[in-house]
Amino acid sequence: MNPEFVRNAWIESRFHRFALATAAVGLIALVGAATSDSALGPLGQAGAFVFLVFMGSHAAALSIIGEVRNRTWDQQRLSALDPWSMVWGKLLGATLLAWFGGLLCVAILLIDMATSEGWSDVPRTLAKYVCLGVMAQGTAMLAALVTIDRFESVGRLQTFRAQLAGIGAGFAVAAAWPENDAGGPFVASWWGRAIDAESFALASLAVFTGWVLVGCHRLMRRELAVVNGPYVLMGFLAFLAAYVAGLDGLLEDWSDDGIHGADMRLLIMLSTLVAATLVLVVAERKDPVLYRTMFLNLRRVRFWPRVLREAQGWMLAWLGAALVVALILLHALLPEEMRDALGLGGSLPTFDKDVSLVVLALSALGFLTRDCALFVLCNGRRPSPRADSALIVALVLGYVATTWLLVLNDVEWLMPVFVPVPRVEFAYGIAAAWIEAAVAMWLARRRLA
């Protein structure tokens, strides 16, 4: 059996803890049965959420951060166990108690469901809760793995933050889960196909849970000194962009802005990749030594594969965003008859008379480049999570407050200097964004030297 799982089970298997969990679940069942028939299900649901999401996330985060705190992590990094064994050994071993209590609560929920509505929905509900638990715990573990790379010392605060990430994932699943209150047709539309909404939600949850586990595996590989290539992350980013762009509900939200069809899908892909770049550039350790090594290797052509291998996630996401911008430009350059023949529709580069996706895309990429360079600049002497926080506040102020002030004071012509504006008359915003990006990159390069 997996030694990591066995070790965690040795530590977790304390009789009194399992007795307490059993008593808590028994209490839930008793209260539910005593109050009313309809209370049992929701109580089981709440209990499952507490065990699987709250407790499970804490245990999963602690399975990584606890090792660093107790100074056992370096011994684990020397381990001969493969990264998958390490991930699932920890994910299942450290959360044994959470799964024990959580599955008991799910059992209460399922029994209640089976007695009131029949057995037809039971497998799907069971799958939902198993995925929910793995998703929340996997997210907490992922956050913990990011944290130990980012912070030189870790403690309870970092454990709590990683747990919060898991809880956030749990709530996001709960919030996004479709509820058919109206009782009418219950379908989701994705890339123009109508799919049963609950099946779509369950499939999406399963796929994203899979990606979370893949993420844990990739970060564990890094910790265990196994070289990570760029292709898996590239695959995830491509999937994410395609998944979000396929949500037809989003098209309706943006059609009022005069952007239609394929253009809108490209715009959604660009927005997704810009968001992914920003999340990754904040999350990842911006190590000046790594960047210096990359610059050194860039000068030697034979080291380029190594540069790609060592490229951080935000660099790959930026490349993805740049690729989408290139697609937008290509789309804009296509003759109208060819676009029609390809079924791409729209009338690029200007959709309505004054709205331009090209202007928006080019300036957005410029601002994104500037922001990434600023994050590198702020960490140019030594990686500093505090500097990141300060920069996030500054950027939010720059994007939101400045724009609001400019609009308020009727000087909208200055807006393209601060935010991407998709209007033909503001095309000079492209130059502004890229000049800012060039200055930020030059400063970052100087700081790293």
Binding site: W10, I11, N70, T72, D74, R77, L78, A80, L81, R381
Partner: protein, 306 residues
Amino acid sequence: MIEVDTLSYEYPTTRALDRVSLTVRPGTVAALVGPNGAGKTTLLRCLAALAPPYAGAARIAGIDTLEHPREVHRRLGYLQDFFGLYDELTVRQCLSYAARARGVSGGEAPRAAFETARMVGLDDRVEQRAGELSRGLRQRLAIGQSIVHRPEVLLLDEPAAGLDPESRAELSRLILELKAKGITIMVSSHILAELEDYSDVMFILDGGRLVGEGPVGHGAMPCAKLRVALASADEGLTAILGAEPHVSEVSGDAIVARLSFAGNEADRARLLASLVARGLPVVEFVEERTSMEDVYLERVRGARRP
């Protein structure tokens, strides 16, 4: 067995190792010494493939730590300057887990764990929790975890820190036992006197650079330091000694003199006979032992001299 070639390691604001090169032959015990912040722990972490170097290379048993870190992990044991133990687990569980995690098969692991417990003197405490052990016993358990998979190379970072004299003596015995089994060992420590008991070769780091290296014990210094004392004063003592072959750096007074002697044992006997023949009332003719500390201080001070 251990080869380091112009290795440099950088932290964001400092260069912790600066073009360090050294070689340790198989089956020897190498002492890594230097002041705090010299780069000893960083060098050991680079050798353990836990920290990738900025430039240069390190090889363990011919395997490059940067190119094949996992291969390196399989072949070495590493004890950090703090012992990472799972306090809730028993000695048996700690050693069994370490064995399984370091690639020992499920069938072999219990035997490997028991043999290791016996080797580190914990076979009578296998059911005791790690958290209940004394510091010395925890240290032994940590070493046990590092050697349970029978590594070819063992890296020990400050293994004697915080140990009482008895535990230190036990540690020295254990290191010599491991050396006898053919394991190549590199030990970093501040306690130079104790390193002298088991080290074959010493490497001195200062400010991230290798400032000295050489064998430990007899022959550690190129010249022996001799002390000559007379029963009664003789004003010509230093002059007489200075005129003898193989003698240099004579200092002292009419009663006691110190000198550097580059000759062998026979030359040394001839020197004594010559002094007695000259009528000098010699009551002491001894080699002043050159301790590891003397060598260390000489090299570090030499390196810091402008």
